[in-house]
Amino acid sequence: MSYIKPKFRHPDLPTNRIGLTEASYEGAISTLCAGCGHDSISAGIVRACWELDLPPHRVAKLSGIGCSSKSPTYFLNQAHGFNTVHGRMPSVATGANVANRDLTYFGVSGDGDSASIGMGQFAHVVRRNLNMVYVVENNGCYGLTKGQGSATQDQGSASRKGAPNPYSPIDLVGVALQLGATFVARSFSGDKEQLVPLIKAAIKHKGFALIDVVSPCVTFNNHPGSTKSYDYTRDHVETGVVMDFVPYQEEIKAKYEPGTTEEVILHDGSAIHLHKAESSYDPSDRLSAINKVQEYKDDGKILTGLIYLDPVAAEFHEMMDTSEMPFNQMGDTELCPGKECLNRINSSFQ
């Protein structure tokens, strides 16, 4: 790393309820390309965690391999991080989460990491409804190996050298919906207004929360003809359902026409307010969400916002019926059945 961030901060910077400034949630200086969408997402994560008053050290951030997977270094310096192997972060996150259910888990992945080499692990972590935020920084290409097309690249989208992609794309949002994901959102790294509330809701959602963020690669996939460029994305994103996140016992700020807003209460009492646009659909209805994603795609548009939410489905610990006490805090008392018991077991083998 070439730069050290200055530690000096303005003394009057605002603090959150646990007395931390937003700067306390930052990470190391990014080594990604200037203008990379991933950095905007890191900033969104910093903002969301700060606004939610999360103690930074109670977050664990995990990633696979690739540009996206470098980004956990660039937020929450006080959180433990684990840069695992390519496409296999979901299994490591599963193990980590099972070991200590009391932390907040952030998984950051990319389109290559999740839709190609890690497609299997992605599918299965969705099925487990693991309690984690899973951010896909989706730029349609392999940035770290200089711009090869990825599995989320749209059919016909041109590479930097102008060749159109012949393959049918994988839409992780569609796949996740089909596999029974309980929180599915899509956003755009250039839309912080939308992204930050989505991240906050994803953190508070008890279960697997996917946010597929179109995050243009300024170096290898930002040219005319690419459907993952800044310009193309800006021109084609459309929000299906506008979402506000309201922490528990906080007043509602946004005002919408009566009758257009629906409130969904999350497990800890915080609320999501959904403001449905005219062309909208029901985000609590999986089939309607699947159809809507496909309709937008057919119209050449990208549906963003909270696409589907099931706030009550059992998450992995509930499925496994595990104790409230985190496994990593258990000692001999909880774990070892002792000598007398072993003697009885011996008798059963005689």
Binding site: H57, H80, S91, G95, A99, L103, L335, P337
Partner: protein, 621 residues
């Protein structure tokens, strides 16, 4: 036809020393009857072992169950012959009849006459009309099938003098809670027992006599002992993917955890058993849990270890504890999935790309399986690296007699070097890869420990002592050297080899490991009887303790006995200890059956200069 009738000469003879083999069709319900047979001998106080020889199939193919009885305690395989073959599978009869030792007995269903091509002059034939009896007694085809198995056990009980009361008590144990089934099973036993008593002179030349040699020993398979070891060793997470022959490790963990690891207040589980989508994911979960401070393990076989290679490299380099139980089977590739081998030695020792080395453990019986599984968690957390236990199908899936499992109430888990929130708060310097104690083992923190100290990034990329990413070659080399030092330091925590010295002659020694032990002990008796003094060393772990090199250096030649084609352990010894390869003579058995005493004795005696020995079975021919 030399049908054995009252008054027939007793050819083969053996008191508490013989081999009985059952030839069945898999899926026909024979295994519980066969198990009852073996267990009854155990309950009569006589050392016994039982081996399933089965196909990778659920129903319809030939399967065998070989029971070794030996009051000297030799319960490895004797050789490739048996003294009594209970052949109830017409398909395998041609080969079954060939396996009977001269003077031995061939028990078959004589409801239909025996194919004349199956007649040998030198063995005895015992015909029991099993089909006829079951057709008369039972209407339901499934009952006919199941009770046929019980009937032949009853018949053999009479022929070799199994105490009938022992069988009755076993039936009662087996059907505890399903009392309705007890009487019909006893009746079936009686049908066979009485038929044999009425038609043959009982006992045969081979027979049993009650002894008191079992004492407090147990009769259990290695996988069950591993699963129990994981419960006792404090594992909270078992992540696994189904694969023969390891699946029953995870099943045993789950079975015992469900009884022993329930939080009394809430009724919830103090464990999780996760069936992963594949072996890669299973190992990923193990690493994630261990990284986060919970003891986690996986059980798999060779193909799974191949898939886990990338993750094993990560755990080695990022220094995350992991416990892997590899129940080896015959490779390469899918190989012979239901046959045994010791052929994952090199794969495991150096798993993954780049320079890697892993700690290996080699259990030789169920008690080892239990003890070493418990130890594996301590070693993995102390050394912060993967520990791979190499057991095999023979040990994992068959019942062995074993010393009882023991637990020391004063022992508590060694969680290795962990820096606590209090230490961080007090200002203790924390460098995740900083070797403060000089043993190469460094301190770690669990995620979430302290608000502003002790966080670090775990990665598979190179980093400095404070876990900061670096591609500086000097720092990289320093770190790699520390990992080598750490691997050596592990010797303080790993089980030492077991050396048996048999005399002053140091011309020859033997090195072996794992399940070769049982057959080797018997073979060594035979070698000694021939007047040769051959010491042996049983490896229990890798890296090798200094005593292994001492053993090799103090003998002119050392035979390395193993169950694979390429002499993998020999290669590892040559590579790691830099000994002259010519000193290490390979003795290799790898046809998928467990190595046997006859094979070992013949090969050792072949090396030490004796003539080919007589088959070990002293009374045959």
């Amino acid at each position: 036809m030399t049908e054995i009738k009252k008054g027939m000469p007793k050819n083969v003879s053996g008191l508490n020393d013989f081999v009985v083999k059952f030839a069945n069709v898999n899926g026909s319900g024979s295994s519980s009857a066969n198990h009852m047979f073996a267990k009854s001998i155990f309950r009569m106080g006589i050392p016994v072992s039982a081996r399933n020889i089965f196909p990778s199939n659920i129903q319809g193919l030939p399967t065998w169950y070989e029971v070794r009885i030996n009051e000297k305690g030799h319960v490895g395989r004797r050789g490739d012959t048996c003294d009594l073959m209970c052949s109830v599978n017409p398909e395998s009869m041609p080969r079954d009849v060939k396996e009977v030792s001269p003077g031995g007995y061939f028990l078959y269903d004589n409801t239909k006459p025996l194919d004349l091509r199956l007649i040998r002059d030198d063995i005895n034939y015992i015909g029991i009309p099993l089909t006829q009896i079951t057709n008369t007694e039972y209407k339901d085809p499934r009952q006919r099938q199941l009770f046929k198995n019980v009937i032949y056990v009853g018949a053999i009980a009479a022929l070799i003098e199994i105490e009938f009361e022992v069988l009755v008590s076993l039936v009662s144990d087996q059907f505890k809670g399903k009392e309705k089934l007890i009487q019909p099973n006893i009746h079936a036993l009686e049908l066979g027992y009485n038929y044999a008593k009425d038609n043959f002179e009982c006992p045969l030349g081979i027979r049993l006599e009650r002894r008191d040699l079992i004492k407090d020993m147990i009769f259990v398979d290695g996988n069950t002992a591993c699963g129990l070891g994981a419960v006792y060793g404090g594992a909270t997470v078992c992540a696994w993917y189904p694969i023969t022959p390891s699946t029953s490790v995870a099943e045993a963990f789950e079975k015992y955890a469900a009884r022993l690891r329930i939080d009394p207040a809430s009724g919830k589980k103090n464990y999780a058993s996760i069936q992963a989508e594949d072996e890669l994911s299973a190992m990923g979960m193990v690493i994630g849990s261990n990284w986060n401070g919970a003891r986690a393990f996986t059980a798999t076989s060779g193909p799974g270890v191949s898939l886990m290679n990338e993750f094993l490299g990560l755990a080695y380099f990022a220094e995350v504890p992991a416990v892997l139980i590899d129940v080896q089977r015959a490779g390469p590739s899918t190989g012979m999935p239901t046959k045994t081998q010791q052929s994952d030695v090199l794969l495991s020792a150096y798993a993954s790309h780049g320079d890697t080395k892993h700690i290996l453990l080699f259990p030789s019986d169920p008690k080892d399986c239990f003890d070493q599984t418990v130890a594996a968690f301590d070693i993995a957390e102390r050394v912060q690296t993967p520990v791979i236990m190499l057991t095999d199908l023979d040990l994992g899936m068959n019942d062995w007699i074993s010393e009882p499992l023991e637990w020391d109430e004063d022992y508590s888990y060694d969680r290795g070097k962990i820096m606590t929130a209090e230490e961080l708060e007090a200002g203790k310097d924390f460098g995740r890869y900083l070797d403060v104690d000089g043993d190469g083992m460094t301190y770690r923190t669990y995620p979430g420990t302290h608000p502003d100290r002790g966080a670090f990034f775990t990665r598979g990329t190179s980093r400095d002592e404070y876990a900061i990413y670096t591609e500086n070659g000097d720092i990289y080399v320093e770190n790699m050297e520390r990992l080598t030092k750490k691997f050596r330091s592990a010797l303080e925590y790993t089980p030492k080899p077991v050396i048996t010295e048999r005399g002053t002659d140091k011309s020859y020694g033997v090195i072996h490991f794992g399940t070769t032990r049982a057959a080797l002990d018997e073979a060594m008796d035979h070698v000694s009887e021939k007047g040769y003094e051959v010491d042996d060393l049983r490896l229990q772990s890798f890296p090798f303790h200094d005593s292994v090199l001492d053993f090799i250096e103090s003998h002119d030649y050392v035979m390395v006995i193993e169950q694979n084609r390429d002499g993998q352990m020999r290669t590892l010894l040559v590579n790691e200890l830099e000994v002259n390869p010519k000193k290490l003579l390979p003795i290799l058995h790898y046809n998928g059956t467990p190595i046997n005493a006859t094979f070992i004795a013949e090969n050792i005696l072949g090396v030490v200069g004796a003539d080919k020995v007589q088959p070990i079975h002293k009374d045959s021919a």
